[in-house]
Symmetry: C2
Subunit: 381 residues, 2 copies
Amino acid sequence: MAALRSSAIRDLLAVTARPDVIGLAGGLPDPDLVPLDRIRAATVRALESADSLQYTETAGLLALREVIARRESALRPRPVTTAEVAVTHGSQQALSLLAQVLVDPGATVVVEEPAYPGALQVLRATQARIMTVPLDADGMRTDRIADLLAAGERPVLVHTVSTFHNPRGVTMSASRRRELTTLAERFGFLVVEDDPYGELHYAGPPPEPIAAHSDRVIRLSSVSKTLAPALRVGWMVAPREICAAVELAKQGADLCDSRLAQETVTELLADEQWMTGHLQDLRAEYGRRADALRRAVEREFGDCATLSRIGGGMFGWLEFQDGTDTDALLSAALDHSVAFVPGSAFAVDGQDRAGARLCFTTNTPARLDDAVGRLAAAHSR
Amino acid sequence: MAALRSSAIRDLLAVTARPDVIGLAGGLPDPDLVPLDRIRAATVRALESADSLQYTETAGLLALREVIARRESALRPRPVTTAEVAVTHGSQQALSLLAQVLVDPGATVVVEEPAYPGALQVLRATQARIMTVPLDADGMRTDRIADLLAAGERPVLVHTVSTFHNPRGVTMSASRRRELTTLAERFGFLVVEDDPYGELHYAGPPPEPIAAHSDRVIRLSSVSKTLAPALRVGWMVAPREICAAVELAKQGADLCDSRLAQETVTELLADEQWMTGHLQDLRAEYGRRADALRRAVEREFGDCATLSRIGGGMFGWLEFQDGTDTDALLSAALDHSVAFVPGSAFAVDGQDRAGARLCFTTNTPARLDDAVGRLAAAHSR
């Protein structure tokens, strides 16, 4: 199922490669906002020595783990050590290795409904028993997790895209973050805080990470959304025994990552002044695009559909109130040369027919305006 | 066990990072022979556009699969199509995904004794039932596979490092390659032909790949030994359904590889004239080093130990005839500032105490001479 769904998304992405189609379907950074010159300069510097082309440590270059530890320490009360950082081939690999290391067949895991398909795919591959908890405007419904625990469920882990959710766009509130870790400590489960979008905030920073409240939280992030996907540098901050187990699993999975890419990323993340400016630029431009999407949706759809509040990230969630089936809408939309991902692609147990994920990062405000116009034309057909 | 053993090798590699230690333990290309300028030029060219920094196809860039298909087609009677090529994050990832896709818990798999630890690790992780077959000077003993089959064993796959074996250095003969595929077709198992070293031949090319004889062969290779490990570009040539299953598993494992690295490798592999010259240079220099190792071993050890014939690859296998325990020898060797990997690190069922893997690629002839002198001093202690 997960496999089918995620390949449905890939088929969709193939259609949206048509140059006439305005893509709201992807979840990509805009190539025009990727810091190409800076990445090229750092790459050329790393390539001054052939050492950058050799095999490297499975856990990641120490200098990179140091800079990640420093950045992550700034987000929480207790400093993070390098033994608590494992660098992975994008944060998807961290998810996949964690599932391999922590989840036995039949073990219970809790995910959000709707869920990030990449998490669902790796958890299903372990033959875990997957339970879902809904989201609202304050993120994952921790009261529902409490209900499951009260009913005797004993999950080994809870997965959440805590900040600027994929696909729903919402952010877990500070009080729910505390509640979740209180439950994790009382019932002994782990929380996987999957946070690739947290630095892309357009209306003030999100609450402290869930990981700031407990050591039972494994925090994942990456540079795919802030620097470039092709660097394939993600990481995990976790208790050192979990890092060690993931490192061993990674040895079997692919031996190690690219030392060249890790040296490049080390230079960029360590240049705090540049990185701060770069993030500010991204926030300003993506924030303008999020606003453009909102204005266009309000103009075109009025009361037919509502768009989630966009505090950051890459997605707005459009929810139809008029009985529109977004699977059907997608066919019509492709006829009007605009693409999005229907809610059904993210459904776990349920059958979402009213929701649509709209990515606003890869188009200018003018193109977004045009795209929503096309979507409205498809909708009124 | 595999985990312990492979981490033993890693601990060993940590010791050998001491600058005074001459390392015969690794399995690395010499950084001085990595085509740094050519890789830098191709990388800078790819970085002319930010498209090289975006996400890419899970199966690998089509242009790269085309050049791999072309190169692989030259090695076998039937041309390879791009649907039969999957690019992976080094060929270790191909092994790992294949184990995930093809091997159920309790399934029987056959490996060589001694074995490449990376293969053993991923097969053990699937909880396969692992059977071993010994090697001799003509490679894997296919008669022993026939014995297992005659006794009613029904393996799902047979893994072999067919050419310039790691660790034993030997190459499977042409007649055994044919025998193995005859058995594979009669009994319905798959052969994984793990061939990262085949292009590094120093005494004429090896026999046709096993894959030339049957479609039941999955062939793995990579540029880690010929261009550079940090490019992390490996591949698998296999029936298209297996490529499709591996692609789906890779989506969960890490979404995709680096488009930048794939563009770089595409340029280098497609430049056949340059690539031919580069391989000739590697063969000439590594061949000189293999000769230097042989001469030094003959001079220092005489009849105490024999070195495998080195036709290519990175390793010579030193076998002691005088009762030397190579685990014990390693401690003494480190005292004399020389490192190697003892046979026990590659043992599956058995307990090899007489063998030692010597890597000759990362040292000049003069240093190899010195290294073997130190090893002899440690041995005579």
